[in-house]
Subunit: 218 residues, 2 copies
């Protein structure tokens, strides 16, 4: 008997079904490892209420419930999934640690300046310093992209076979797809393209898009 896995996602996708919300990472990992899952949709109001905060102390999505276990943080959820089923982490212990290093690199080193640029767009667009700060924010992102691009080189994935590190890095880089910032490092759009061409990615993407389409019709 398999325990049912339930994740949470936005009831109303802020990106209009582009798959940039963090439930996409968990959906993709579940698809790569061939596991069915249920989705509970939560509204922005419900995310700040005690029932959701008991699962996710910072009032975000996704969460992950499996039997008695309740988890939060997309990185930790993807790691949990990757540890229990083959497909997302190498068998060799050292290679496994290196794949996990790329998971942390995606979330703690590459993603923060990308989120910062998005936050400025949401919060500070009307401020008189918005345009003046833009080159500062973009330069920080470019530095990380240059470093990542140099490390990736001609390889298909960051370290050997596709891993949970690549899964997170592709989802992080996708946040820049409409920014133009990826143009200077063509191996990174090609890397994203390899990620999103994976059948598991496509199934996960279709599932989150279906939520948006259903909400639009409702």
């Amino acid at each position: 008997m398999t325990t049912t896995i339930t994740i949470t996602a936005f009831e109303s996708s802020p990106d209009r079904g582009r798959g940039l919300a963090r439930d996409m990472r968990v959906r993709w990992a579940l698809e790569e490892t061939g596991q069915p899952y249920d989705v509970r949709l939560v509204s922005f109001e419900a995310m700040k209420k005690p029932a959701h905060l008991a699962l996710q102390p910072f009032g975000q999505i996704p969460t992950y419930e499996e039997g008695d276990l309740a988890l939060f943080e997309s990185g930790a959820i993807v790691l949990r999934i990757a540890e229990r089923r083959p497909g997302l982490l190498p068998a060799d212990a050292d290679a496994r640690s290196r794949a996990i290093a790329w998971m942390f690199a995606a979330l703690s080193t590459v993603e923060p300046p990308i989120v910062e640029r998005e936050m400025a767009t949401y919060v500070e667009r009307g401020k008189d310093w918005f345009e003046a700060r833009r080159p500062i924010l973009e330069e920080r992102i470019r530095t990380r992209l240059d470093q990542l691009s140099r490390r990736l080189g001609d390889a298909p994935w960051l370290d050997g076979d596709f891993s949970a590190g690549d899964l997170l890095m592709v989802t992080v880089l996708r946040r820049l797809e409409s920014s133009g910032l990826l143009d200077a490092t063509p191996n990174l759009p090609a890397y994203i393209a390899r990620g999103v061409a994976r059948p598991a990615y496509k199934r996960a993407f279709a599932a989150q898009l279906a939520v948006f389409e259903a909400a639009r019709k409702a």
Copy 2:
């Protein structure tokens, strides 16, 4: 026979020995698990050179070398240490996943707005928007601190016994010690105090302080 562990740290500590650089996390984890280690000091110039970039593609410290394994990202290094020796992760698989969730929460949810405020101080202090943006930056940090404080409540640690999640969270919160931002949530300074009172923390702190003192005398 034990393989020698070598980590890297700043040759010249930018915080003057206050233990805020990320090698402190790795030193603390090694002390909690009773493992000796060597330290290779690197200059800011050397960090941008090919030899260091081969170990750390983003030109940062710390790195971790153990036999044939080379790792980067303090979160991944602490997790590697925690997985191989008792003391930093619970034995129960679900509790272990929850401790790892707090590791990711520390580095991907709590730390980024704290680093953002520091970056503004370094990079934008002279700009005419610096003062106007300060409340925006501080409000983002306060939101996270309020949420963390509510979750911690009266407990000594975030989830059961002290774990690698607490280790990372304490080092992240210490970055705010001189900011005044912790005053509104007194359980958080008390939580930091419990962390830094641990004998392993004290040994790690003394070791990084010795590097600063030696450099000052040289």
